[in-house]
């Protein structure tokens, strides 16, 4: 199958593994930002093909994982309302809030539906004028254009029954938060290819220069990751710290300008709380005031809800690369994919779930 098979050839993978072995002269620690990359690394067993001196730590780029607990509680409060059709991407449904998850709300009769695009939620709103359709708009820069488009179209159509519960987060401020921490041990980054497809990679150049850290924009197929790891290690060995682009088939330096324009039209930067990490300044998007009518938090008056995390869960340290899933005392015991304590155990992209499902115990 085109665009897949050529990135999964064993012979080519072995060549990269050999090249990586040649370039590794001392221990290095690399963080892959995106949960999709974590998933590929574990699913294809890449972590076990690398030399022991290369440590991969798994970054915060799992939208399901970093969505704050109180936002899940807000989603659940909204989804329980009889007039609401609550729509979401599939993997948000199993994320535990303080008590419940959205699947349980569905099991007890709430109208919770999986959609594949926010525009499908918009269509639902048009077809069900007597119901309130809410879309759970989480994600990084990757999903922001689609969500912006849905709100934009809703406004053009004058829809009164569509809103989004928004919790967009942004990669560059999170990278700075990790690099600025006194506990940081990340020496190089694989930047998230799909985020860069939208945003480009010029934003990473000042970060790379300021913290003297190599950043390689990397795709999601096995060979993409092996090449991205190789390019990062090559920079580390040479003492370089630059932004390089492995994912040239999808990413340009400036990114997707029409998408960026649409995002800027609908959203504005805001301080955002990250689950397990805390508040990071200007690390998220919220709806601009002129689109406030489409803000579900205001429409359903759930803005004041707050929540407490499970004290057992060390998701925050995992998402910052300070600990790995099996360092957690609850891993595989009190916390499993069926009964997750924290969000990294929920999504296929969460580091804990990837470790659990693919036998990294």
């Amino acid at each position: 199958m085109k665009y897949i098979d050529e990135y999964r050839r064993e012979a080519d993978a072995q060549k990269f593994v050999a090249a990586i072995q040649r370039v590794v002269t001392q221990p290095w620690t690399i963080m892959e930002i995106c949960g999709g990359q974590t998933h590929t690394l574990i699913k294809f067993g890449i972590d076990r093909m690398l030399p022991e001196r290369v440590t991969l730590v798994h970054g915060p780029g799992c939208p399901v994982c970093v969505t704050p607990l109180e936002l899940i509680d807000k989603a659940i409060a909204i989804a329980r309302r009889p007039e609401v059709i609550f729509t979401s991407f599939g993997d948000m449904l199993r994320v535990p809030g303080s008590g419940d998850d959205l699947l349980s709300v569905k099991a007890r009769g709430g109208d919770v539906r999986i959609v594949y695009s926010p525009l499908d939620a918009l269509k639902l709103a048009q077809r069900n004028p007597a119901r309130q359709v809410v879309f759970f708009a989480v994600g990084f820069e990757t999903t922001a254009p689609g969500n912006a488009m849905a709100v934009w179209q809703a406004k053009q159509l004058g829809l009164q029954n569509f809103s989004i519960l928004a919790s967009h987060v942004l990669v560059p401020p999170a990278m700075e938060a990790i690099l600025g921490s006194p506990h940081n041990r990340v020496q190089g980054f694989l930047a998230a290819g799909h985020v860069c497809t939208v945003m480009g990679y010029w934003e990473y150049e000042p970060i790379s220069a300021k913290y003297r850290v190599p950043i390689v924009v990397t795709g999601f197929e096995p060979l993409d990751l092996l090449q991205g790891i190789y390019m990062t290690l090559r920079q580390l060995k040479a003492g370089r710290a630059q932004v390089e682009n492995q994912y040239t088939r999808a990413v340009r330096r400036e990114g997707n300008l029409p998408a960026q324009k649409l995002i800027a039209r609908v959203f504005e930067a805001t301080d955002r709380k990250w689950r397990g990490i805390g508040e990071i300044p200007r690390s998220g998007y919220r709806l601009r005031d002129e689109f406030a009518a489409f803000d579900a938090e205001q429409r359903f008056d759930v803005g004041a809800l707050t929540a407490q995390e499970s004290p057992l869960c060390i998701a925050g340290q995992i998402l910052q690369g300070l600990k790995r899933p099996h360092d957690c005392s609850a891993f595989g015991k009190q916390c499993t994919p069926e009964r997750p304590l924290g969000a990294p155990m929920v999504s296929a992209e969460g580091a804990c779930a990837a470790y659990f499902s693919f036998g990294r115990t």
Binding site: M1, I4, R8, R9, E10, A13, Q14, G36, I42, K43, F44, G45, I46, D47, R48, M49, P63, V64, F89, G90, D91, M92, L93, R94, L103, S104, A107, R108, I114, Y116, V138, G139, F140, T142, T143, H194, P222, L223, T336, P337, E338, R339, S347, A348, E349, F356, S357, F358, G359, R360
Partner: protein, 346 residues
Amino acid sequence: MDQQCPIPISDYPHITLAHGGGGRLTQMLIEKMFVPSFANPALETLHDGAILETPGARLAFSTDSFVVHPIFFPGGDIGSLAVHGTVNDLAMCGARPLALSAALILEEGLPMEDLWRVVQSMQSAARAIGVPIVTGDTKVVERGKGDGVFVNTAGIGVIPAHIHVAPTRAQIGDVLLINGAIAEHGITIMSVREGLEFETALRSDSAPLHDIVARVLDAAGEHVHVLRDPTRGGLASPLNEIAAQARVGIRLDEAQIPLEDPVRGACEILGFDPLYVANEGKFLAIVARERAEQVLAAMRGHPLGARAAIIGQVVAEHPGKVYLRSRIGGMRVVDMLSGEQLPRIC
């Protein structure tokens, strides 16, 4: 008589869809609630059907309920699926189907025309197999209390004297085969249900396996150790069950597992692992190594086995676990399905 529910209420006060998904939660219901409640030797083998010894014959007995939505889908419908499903469960015991029962639960308001189509489909599927539907039942529930039509079938079959297939018979050194490409039923239903449109048409693989299984048994007889149809829960869940019951390791070779491009593409787009997606016309055979090529040839000589392949082996290492050698040569564990597969965000 005041026994406590074995599944702590605090964990699961309600049934969720994942309890019927064929994965870990289904297994928990079976192991913690059903098996201890109904305890008996025939049940405890946890096979696709029970094997009953009677004077002069060994009988296989199995039942299955069908709740698929939509009831008509590319490649089949709930009627043919219900006939195939139970015939296949019998075939997985090594049995030739003798007779089926059919029970229909109909929702008030179901178009008579739809019922007629379902019944005709059951009739033609049963006739093609040569198995009579000899008894049945009909119930109607109020509008809104059902999903159009639910079908239950049960069946009995006769197991030839020299055939002994059971999950516990998987032995170190055995070879694992499958009769064709995986994940077709689950992805087809998913795409119809969710209104997903792909460029290529997807079709369910729903098919009766009794005949191809008979060819395999003719080719290798007692050297066929385990037969299993990987329906809900995909390949991953039954292989985990077999590994656990036989206390052996199973090693899969991803590059050898047949997968058609349209299904593969759909799985890539949705973020689904095809190892966890349902099949309705596929079976796994674990056979003695020296008969593997004969079994492969027998499968390939049948219309339902053109893409049959050897996809793995039974090993001494990691007993109870299933490992997969990925396309690029890395190794990972293939665990049982946890919950339902949910489409990813990005």
